[in-house]
Symmetry: C2
Subunit: 335 residues, 2 copies
């Protein structure tokens, strides 16, 4: 298996990216196609022992900068490292791409080069975002706002495959996020989606409320990207606030090390996505993994590990099959 | 000033309600019209020293039960204590009504008897819901889903008056809750509301994100009741989860009393609405205060204090004036 790695993407590129890729090659036994200016890449590689590792260099001198509008950057820089890395997947020369570059650029590359699965117009963002509910996946977390019921259903299928393949949950429970548990409760979007969810063949358990997100009542919680993004960011900020407050409260009462241990694990539990550092872009026709810009080598190694898992478990193939099955059940003609 | 108190509303009615009302009469020097079965009320009053207090009894033998569908209950029980108490306000015999009865019943009574302010179809729910951001009010928190831009604007006006009158903030900053700070970011609802907010004469600072709710970046955060309800309930549940987690983490390291002090104050900071026990129903044409069903005498006394403040500061009159001013600015004809 070969993973294309964007050697120039991320706040700590190229050093931390190259180090993370070398570690992943050794740890997971995967081949790496390292994309970037070949001299820079060689310089970084020279710092590490790469004996016996399958690391190939793919040269390009362009790369995206944080803050460049993604679509504009892609037009201006058609040979940027993320584009070249993504094209390796499209051309069958790599099985997956991993980048810690600007998220907009990674998403745009995946969108324009790999495309999305049939009937889905944008990638779906989401995952297990709360340490207190490790078996609860929420989708969408910001890619898709103003969603139609059939889009929410697509998120539910993506979430189900996520929970099955990445969290090993056999028959994940699926719920619509709403403001009351009963069928009639919610906004127009939720009310229109409910009957669709009942018929689609997923393990739909009805609506859940905001209360139920941390409780783990459902394995897959579905909302549009507007609601999801606000909830996740609010939870992260609240977690950080509480950590700060706890530092003040516990300081002087407990040894400094213990306070740090407690607040660090609380931060991890409430800022999980941030801590884990991204994951696969869902509903893209290929495996593309985003790592956050602040990633150090450890996160890059983990992201490459996630990409390997996604390839091995045939996420994309499973997702296509599940989407087709749900559409057959709902008698939606193939698009 | 006279406050009508629903003597039979709440899990601990009548004992705790009557005690709270007696305390409020003494503490705030307000007159109380205690509504309920006169014998039961007399029996409870006999337990307290009411000398020199202005406490009047208004008899009715009917009252609502938790779980009764509000509209149905009001039709079936036209003389229930909450209805009679609300009518005292409508008829000018009381200045405000306070109830810890079923929220649906209190809202329905306010809606049908007092009515809402011109151009607003339902009461607006909201307030300062997070101890970490005591000067941030969020509206709506669940009464109004699927909102039009002009409704969000009404919430913003309500929130501004709330912050001015109840939190003593002179020129409260107002923001739309969205998924990006820039003007173009958000769903259709937010994008359509933005220009309206710019023109309305409020102290509008643009969009804020989920991150910004606990930071207190804006004094008034505006969203529809679907989003608001999910965010608040999620925050409350996350707070409770963290308290439980902290109990385990701190148990054995700190004395039990200190652990309890820390988790109690965290619970108060994250479940503020619950702890404070309600407040005025906004955009109703009269002062109606809801207290939560679990209220004990202390909460009832505080709720009566809030009602007194709302009357003294002429919340309803200020709100009418602000709504009219904003509509003039936007050239919306009086409805």
């Amino acid at each position: 298996m070969k993973i294309a790695v964007d050697g120039m993407g991320g706040d700590h590129a190229p050093a931390e990216i190259v180090r993370g890729a070398v570690d992943a090659a050794r740890e997971y036994g995967v081949g790496i196609a390292l994309v970037g200016p070949v001299e820079t890449m060689e310089q970084e590689l020279a710092r590490h022992d790469r004996s016996g590792l399958d690391i190939e260099l793919v040269h390009t001198s362009e790369y995206l900068l944080e803050g460049e509008p993604p679509a504009y950057a892609l037009r201006r820089k058609p040979n940027s490292s993320i584009v070249v890395a993504t094209r390796l997947v499209k051309d069958g020369k790599a099985d997956a791409v991993v980048s810690a570059g600007p998220t907009g650029g990674v998403v745009a590359s995946a969108l324009y080069i790999l495309g999305t699965l049939e009937g889905i117009s944008r990638p779906v963002a989401g995952g297990a975002f709360l340490g207190f509910a490790p078996n609860t996946v929420m989708m969408d977390l910001g890619s898709n706002v103003d969603c139609q019921p059939h889009q929410l259903l697509d998120f539910a299928i993506v979430g189900t495959v996520y929970a099955q393949k990445m969290l090993n949950i056999q028959n994940p429970t699926v719920a619509l996020l709403s403001i009351g548990a009963e069928e009639g409760k919610g906004n127009e979007q939720v009310k229109a989606s409910y009957p669709l969810f009942q018929k689609c063949g997923l393990n739909f358990i009805g609506n859940v409320e905001g209360y139920d997100i941390p409780s783990g009542r459902a394995n897959v919680v579905i909302c549009d990207g507007f609601v999801g993004n606000i909830v996740v960011k609010f939870g992260e900020a609240l977690g950080r606030n509480i950590c700060q407050w706890l530092k003040d409260k516990l300081g002087g009462r407990l040894p400094e090390g213990e306070v740090k241990e407690i607040t660090d694990s609380l931060l991890l539990a409430t800022n999980t996505a941030d801590a884990v550092g991204g994951g696969p872009l869902w509903a893209v026709d290929g495996v593309a993994c985003v790592s956050h810009g602040r990633s150090r080598h450890g996160e890059i190694t983990r992201a490459i590990g996630q990409a390997k898992l996604a390839v091995e478990r045939d996420l994309v193939g499973s997702l296509k099959a599940e989407l087709a099955a749900a559409r057959r059940k709902l008698e939606i003609p193939g698009i």
